[in-house]
Each structure stands twice: as structure tokens, then as C-alpha cells.
Symmetry: C2
Amino acid sequence: MALGEFELIKRYFYQSARAFGVQMGIGDDCALLQAPEGKVIAVSMDTLVGGIHFPRNADPELIAERALRVNLSDLAAMGAEPLWFTLGLTMPKVDERWMEGFARGLFTVADEYNIALVGGDTTRGPLAITIQVHGAVESDHALMRANARVGDLIYVTGNVGDAAAALAVIRQELTVGKSAFNYFMSHYYRPQPRLKEAKMLRGISQCAIDVSDGLLADLGHICEESGVGAKIDLERIPVSTALNKVAEAEQIADWALAGGDDYQLCFTVSPDKLGQVQALIDAGKLHANAIGEIVKGSGVEVLLEGEVFEPKRRGYNHFDTDA
Amino acid sequence: MALGEFELIKRYFYQSARAFGVQMGIGDDCALLQAPEGKVIAVSMDTLVGGIHFPRNADPELIAERALRVNLSDLAAMGAEPLWFTLGLTMPKVDERWMEGFARGLFTVADEYNIALVGGDTTRGPLAITIQVHGAVESDHALMRANARVGDLIYVTGNVGDAAAALAVIRQELTVGKSAFNYFMSHYYRPQPRLKEAKMLRGISQCAIDVSDGLLADLGHICEESGVGAKIDLERIPVSTALNKVAEAEQIADWALAGGDDYQLCFTVSPDKLGQVQALIDAGKLHANAIGEIVKGSGVEVLLEGEVFEPKRRGYNHFDTDA
């Protein structure tokens, strides 16, 4: 006999949620959650569909890891600390081995980032995962897209472009050696939500976004919401050694500018706080690079050695893309 | 050119969320929400999959209505008042007419129950809708499944069985006249979340569940979580005149006991509060019927004129059912 929904939930997901503020976790009509005093709740929901956002036959442990990590990245982009998450899991059939792997991946990440599963829904249907994360942030420390100001410097954490290269490997458009393969797969399936970095930026930055749709597209959102423009220098955009080894400059520029899924933070810093951010970078605590400046106007202009550079693509669109 | 995700969100869902406590709605990495003072946040997530939970070709306005209504029902079952919701919408392609209808249905219900859309995700893939609702309740007024006590009376609001009959009509297993057709379809697609009733029960009941999986199954959850049993009398279970007209007693009993999707509240009342609940019923404010009693033991026993009645089915299982 197939496992029913209740047995499923109990067997794989019914961990007692002893996290902060959980008065009732899984097991009633609603979870009951107590927000930390003096803070607002930050919530974000993401759906990942099999065959669109990840290959249907991907390792369930990696699917779960990626799903939770990309959601945590939205909390980082808001400057919020993780508290709770809910999971909507739709599966074609109950496959216990698949479920086991999925639960293992999910709780590995949940434990690492101290976020508790408090509820959700499991249903039958085409493979898809919806996660909603809930975090807390002091209202005046939230990193808002609308807070960029003319004269701010623009930074990005880590490297960009690796996830786009990974997708090319998955689609068999790019062939790489074993160690590069492992490097790119790990960046694709195990993106690091920049929660530590977001915490460091408290009081230093007022504005951030995570690079999920591509650097140009996401910085473009900041510009639009803030009513400003941006100028960035292509040569200052950080890419990994691994990426430099497997592709030509033109391809790298496209992946770094328009490839999604890197989940780095792109943030802005006002002139009076530049010393503070530089001190963090110099101390080796914060891995981030200044890539340009917020300017009057609108849209993102890319320069290459001071000349206007016209990118091949400007972004990623879920309705035009297939994986 | 197809509409991209951002245009989609803007065109159909970007209503300024001026609801209680919304510091930031749609348009940043997270929504920022301020919980009402002295209350806990109740959250519940439900996924409805096209071809499983509703016919794929159903009217998008009705799909949206139903999706939000069934989620609101979970807030009612917890005794919580609606505040905010998030929407994960997965669609095979961007169909503007479909989206228009969907948004119309969604905001009709949102306005009726005073709940604000504050975020979510739209993606391409097989049709599915995930909604998470967020409400507020005073901690000691939450209607918990674990709060039933031996000697409590068991009540159910409205009628049960109509939604199961509606499903039989949709599946063309049951043929009915035009006015009965409209009646059953309306009960299936436009279930009334029992929020007003839940509010009336504040301080009167400590324990409720909404009848989504079927009366026996849902009352069974109460019994399990409370460590008690239940005895209910088949002849006291309320069914509609419409249902009595279209089916035989045996079929009606099955639909009323094991049919899901009615979204009535099943709640318990301790002996010292029976006067209060009866006063509400007598005043015509609360439509509810006592159907049995919480007893020592476990599981739900059904009696028909005092004799043990063995139900044909005991519940609804998402992984065994198809629509």
C-alpha cells in the first residue's frame, strides 16, 4: 500500500520544531509562530519546477539543498535572520528512497542555517517544490531595493557566472574536467546564501538584492526601485579561476552579467560608510568587490576599459527559458 | 513577445498592499510584515494541482477562488483572523485571459475576507497553485486539535457531503438538474471559510479542525492529537436538502462521513460552555449541530440509531485519489 499524506509527513518531516518562537509546528491546521520583539517578519516564497529549474532526474538531496538555499538567499538579500520555513512538495508518486534523500538534503541545510520546518503540504502531481522562508529583521536595518542613492558604490560578494557555466555543463553545452565539474555542480546545487555577509552589512549598507536573475537584471531592479542608474566596469566583476579556465572572455562576460542562479549579494554603500566596508574586506571577513557606482538616470550601463560595452543578453526570464 | 515574470506580477498582482502591518509587499526580495501586538502568527500552506485537485480546464476565476478559500479555512480552523497571503503560481504558458480571470477570482475573495497579497512567485510548469495564508490569534484562543477532552460535545457547522456530491457531478458519475448543478458547483468552488463562526467560538471552544479530508478523517485527527476517542450519531450529521434529493441514504452517508472538501468546522465544546454555544445557535447566529461526544479510547465510532455503523470508507488520501 502506498504511503498516505499523513504518514509521509510524519515519517520524513515531523521533526519537533524547537526553534525560536514556534508555539505549534507541523500537526495542526496552522503553525503558530511568535515574532521576535522589536523586529518585523521577512517572508519570501520560491517555486522550483522539475524540468524547468532543475533536471527531473537530479539527486533529490541536491534538489532539496538547492531549494532551501535559494530561499535563504532572499532572507540574506533583505538582511533578515532565518527563523522558520514551510514546504509545499508535489511529487508524481511516493518514492521512499527519493523522499529520504530529499529530507536528508533539506535538514542538512536547515540545521546549517538554523531554520525550522514548521508546516506545508504534500500533494501528488508533477514534481515541484515551493518553499517559503520566514526571517526577522529590525525594520530600519532591512536591505531594501529602493534605498540606492546617487554616489553609492556598488559591490558584489564572491564570484558571478559560475552557476550559468554549471547550467551549460548540465545541458551538455560545455564539457569540463572532473574537478571543474565538481566545482560547478557544487555552485549550482549548493549556492551559499550570504547570510553572514548580510549580518556584517548591518548599519553599513541600506540596499541589497541577491543575484538570482543575473547581475544586470538584479542591479536593474535596484535602479528601478530606487529611481537611479548604475555604471559598472566589466573588468571589475569578479569571476572564479575555474570559470576563467573553461571559457572565452565573451562567454564569461555573458554568464557573469546575464547568468542567473549565483545567489551572491549585490549591495550599495554610501560614501560615508566606504571605510567600514573596506575594513571588513581588508580583514578578510567580507569577500566583496566594488564593481561600479550609482548614478543619476536609469538602467545599468556596462563599461569595458572606460568604453560602453553592449551585453549580449540582459537577463533571465523564467517564461523564456528551459532546462 | 511573451510576458515576462516581472511584467506578469506587475500587471496582475501588484496591488499596493495597504493591509495591517505590511511594511513592504510585493517588489523586494522579501515582504516585511509586522505582527499585531500580543498575538501569534498562524500560517498554513496548501497546494492545488491541476488535474488532481481541480479539472485543468476549470474556469480560472473559480480555481483562484477555491484556492484562497480553502486556505482561509485553515485560519478559521485555528481561530485566527486573516492578515496576509503569498501565492506561488505555476503555469504552462502565459495566457493573459486566464491570468485576468485568475486575478479577478483571487482579489474577489481577498477583498471579501480582508486578506492582502504580499508576495509569491510565478513560474512556468504544470498548472499548480500554492497559497500560504497568515493570520493572527491570541495564543490562548487558538483552536488546537489537541484540546478535545472526554465529555466534550462535538459540533459541525453547516452541512457536509455537498462537495463530494459536486465531485461526483464533475466526474460525471452523478447527473443532476440545473439548479442542483449550480448549488453543488458553488459549494465545490466557493466553499465558505468559517471565519465568522471561528470568531464567535472564541472563549467557547478550544478545539477545532476544518473538514477538508472528510468528517471521519478530520475528527480522527482531533482524537489522535488529543489522545481520545469519539462517538458520533449518523442521523445527527447535517446534510443539505439538495443532497437528500439526489442520492440514496447509503451514498449520502459515505459522502457525509468520508467525502472531503466541505470546509465546515468540526469543533468541540466542554460541558460548562454548552449553554453559550446553544445560545448562539438559538439566536440564529451560528449554524451548527451537535453530532456526538468525545469519549475515552481512540478513533471515531459511528452509530446509527444506537447501533454500530461500519462506514464504507474512512477518508480521503491525496495519493490515492484522482479528479
